[in-house]
Subunit: 344 residues, 2 copies
C-alpha cells in the first residue's frame, strides 16, 4: 500500500505525463505542484516508487514515466472520477436526436461521434446477430414467381432475402405463413430459430418444400457468415498526433489491428460483461502489438441486457477520467436511443 505522499506523487506524475508526454523529473514536479518538500525528497520517493514497480525510467538521465501498474493504481484508486461537462452532454444528446433509425447507421454515427470527442480512435462492437430476439417475419408476394422474406428482430430488420416460389403460391399463402411463423417463433433468439426445423413448419401448412428452404435461407442470412459481430472504427488520424506513435513501425502495427475487425473484437469481447466503464492498460490487453495502448470500454444495451461495447483506444498516456466519463455518457445516450427504437 502506498502512503499518502507516495500516492500523491504517483498521481501527479501520471497527471503531468498525460498532459505533457515528457518523462517527469523531480525538479519539474516540485516547481509545478505544491508538494511542500524539496526535489531531493521527491527523488527519493520516486526511486522507491520505481523499485515498487509503479514508475519506470526510459533511461538513466531522464525523468520517470508511469508503468502499467502505475496507471492501474491511478485509475483504480487515485484519480478523481469526472463527469461530462454540460455542453458536451448536450452535444451528444443532440447528435442522437437526429440519428437515423437504422441500427448499423446509429452504431456507425456513434463511433464517429465518440472518436471526435475523445480525440482518439473509437470503435464499437455491434450487437451480435445470433442473440437478437426475433419479432416478426414478413413474407411478401412480389410477383408470380418471386417473393421477399424480411426478418425483424428487436433491433430492426436483420435480413431480407428474395426467393422464387412456385406459380401456385398466392399472396394469402405468404401472409398466412408469416402469421404462423410469428406465432411460433416470437421471442426466440435467431440462434435458436436457425437450429429448428423450419421447413417442417412450412410443410405443415401444406406449402411447397421450396418455400421452406426459402424461409430457412432467410433466417440463415440474418446471421453473419463468420459469426463475429460487426466492428466499426473511427478516428485513426488522431494516433498521428500522439508523440508515442511518431515511430512508423509502431503506427503500422496498430493501424493493422484497427483495420482488422476481428482483432478489435477480441480486445474487448470480455468487456461486455462489465458494469459501466472499464479500462485495460498496456499488457492487460493481452496483445504484444499494442502494449503501448490502453482501451476504455463501456457496454451498451437496453432492457437490462448488454448487447455491444463502445471502446476508445489510445496511448496509455490518456486522460482516463475524462474518457471514461465520455464513454459512459455516450453509452447512456445510445442506450436510451436503442430502447426508444426497440421493436417489441
Amino acid at each position: 500500500m502506498l502512503d499518502q505522499r507516495k500516492a500523491f506523487i504517483l498521481a501527479t506524475v501520471v497527471y503531468e505525463y498525460v498532459a505533457t508526454a515528457e518523462p517527469v523529473g523531480s525538479v519539474a514536479l516540485t516547481q509545478k505542484y505544491n508538494l511542500g518538500v524539496s526535489s531531493a525528497t521527491v527523488r527519493n520517493e520516486m526511486a522507491e516508487l520505481e523499485a515498487a514497480g509503479y514508475l519506470v525510467q526510459p533511461h538513466t538521465s531522464a525523468g520517470r514515466v508511469p508503468s502499467d501498474a502505475g496507471y492501474r493504481t491511478y485509475v483504480d484508486q487515485l484519480m478523481r472520477p469526472e463527469t461530462l461537462p454540460i455542453d458536451e452532454q448536450r452535444h451528444i444528446r443532440d447528435e442522437f436526436r437526429e440519428a437515423s433509425r437504422k441500427l448499423e447507421e446509429v452504431i456507425e454515427d456513434t463511433t464517429r461521434l465518440l472518436g471526435q470527442l475523445a480525440k482518439n480512435v473509437a470503435f464499437t462492437v455491434a450487437p451480435a446477430r445470433d442473440s437478437q430476439t426475433f419479432r416478426h417475419a414478413q413474407l411478401i408476394w412480389l410477383s408470380e414467381r418471386t417473393g421477399l422474406a424480411i426478418i425483424v428482430t428487436s433491433l430492426g430488420v436483420a435480413a431480407q432475402r428474395q426467393f422464387e416460389h412456385g406459380a401456385q403460391i398466392e399472396a394469402d399463402d405468404l401472409t398466412r405463413l408469416s402469421n404462423v411463423l410469428n406465432a411460433r417463433l416470437g421471442g426466440k433468439t435467431l440462434r435458436a430459430i436457425v437450429a429448428l426445423d423450419l421447413a417442417d413448419i412450412v410443410r405443415e401448412q401444406g406449402l411447397p418444400e421450396e418455400l421452406g428452404h426459402a424461409v430457412e435461407a432467410a433466417f440463415q442470412s440474418a446471421l453473419r457468415s463468420d459469426g463475429a459481430p460487426l466492428v466499426s472504427s473511427s478516428g485513426a488520424q488522431h494516433l498521428l498526433d500522439q508523440p508515442e506513435f511518431q515511430d512508423l513501425r509502431k503506427l503500422r502495427s496498430i493501424l493493422r489491428i484497427i483495420e482488422e475487425q476481428k482483432s478489435l473484437y477480441e480486445l474487448v469481447a470480455d468487456s461486455m460483461a462489465s458494469e459501466g466503464p472499464a479500462v485495460k492498460i498496456g499488457h492487460e490487453l493481452g496483445s504484444d502489438e499494442i502494449t503501448e495502448c490502453s482501451i476504455v470500454t463501456v457496454p451498451y444495451g437496453f432492457g437490462g441486457e448488454m448487447v455491444g461495447v463502445l471502446a476508445i483506444l489510445g496511448p496509455r498516456r490518456m486522460p482516463y477520467a475524462r474518457l471514461m466519463a465520455l464513454a459512459a455518457g455516450t453509452a447512456e445516450s445510445l442506450n436510451r436511443h436503442l430502447a426508444d427504437a426497440e421493436i417489441r
Copy 2:
C-alpha cells in the same frame, strides 16, 4: 507529340519509378533496359522531356521522376492495359459467392477485398438513397398500439420505422394501405415519393391522420439526413508502406481525408458518369492536400444504370494498369451480384 524514342524513355522511367520509388537516372536506365543508345543520349532526351513537362527533377543531382503530365501520357497512350490473372479473377468471384445479401455489407466487403488486393486504400461510394426506385412498402401490425413500416427498394430494405397508431387500426387496414401505396408508388424514386403528399393518400383511405404522418416519416428516414451517400474505406495501413508517406505531415493530411466520407465522395463524385475505369492523377484531383496521390475509379451498377463508384487511392507512383484491371474486375463481379440480388 512524342517521337518513339522519347515515348519509350518516358514509359520506361514511369515503369522503373513505379517499381523502385527512386528517381531514375540516365545510367541506371541504359544499364537496366536495352535502349540501344548511350546514357548521354538518354540524358539529352530526358532533358527535353523535362523541358516539355513530362519529367521533373527533385533536385539538381538526382534522377528524374514523372510529373502529373508524364503519368497522364503514360496512362492514356503508353502503357499496355492488363487483364486480371485468372487466379485473382477466381478469388474475387469466390468472395462474392459467399457475400451477404445486405447491401451495406456487400459494399463493405467489396471495399475490404479491393483494399487487400490493391494493397492500397480502397473506398466505395454506396448507391444514393434518394435515387433508388421504390419496390414495396409493408406496414405491419405489431400490437394494438404500434406498427412497423418497412420500405423496400430495388436494392433491398431501405428503412424500417416503428410507429404508434390509434387503437381502432386493425391489421387489415395496414395491409390495405400497403397495397395502395405499392400500386401508386411502384417504380418511382424515393426522392420523387418524398415530394408527394402521402398523407393525402392515407386520408383517401379513410385512415387517421397520424398514420399518414407515420408513412411520411418512414419514407423520410429512408433518406440520409445529410444527403451525401455513404462512403466506406479500407486499407489505410498500406499507406505506411509507401516511401512517399513516411513523412508524418503528409500522412496526417491524407488520413484525415480518408476518414471524412464527404471529402472522399467529392473526389470521385463525377466519376460515376465515366464508362469503365478512369484515373485521376495528382492535381487532377482538385485538392491541394492530396496532390501526391492518384485515384483509380470505376462506376458500378446494374440494369444499365450506374449507382456508385469503386475507388483505389494510392501514391501517384501506382501500378495503373494493374489497378485499373483490378477495379474493373471487382466492379464486374459486384455488378453481377447486384443484378442477381435486385428486387424487381
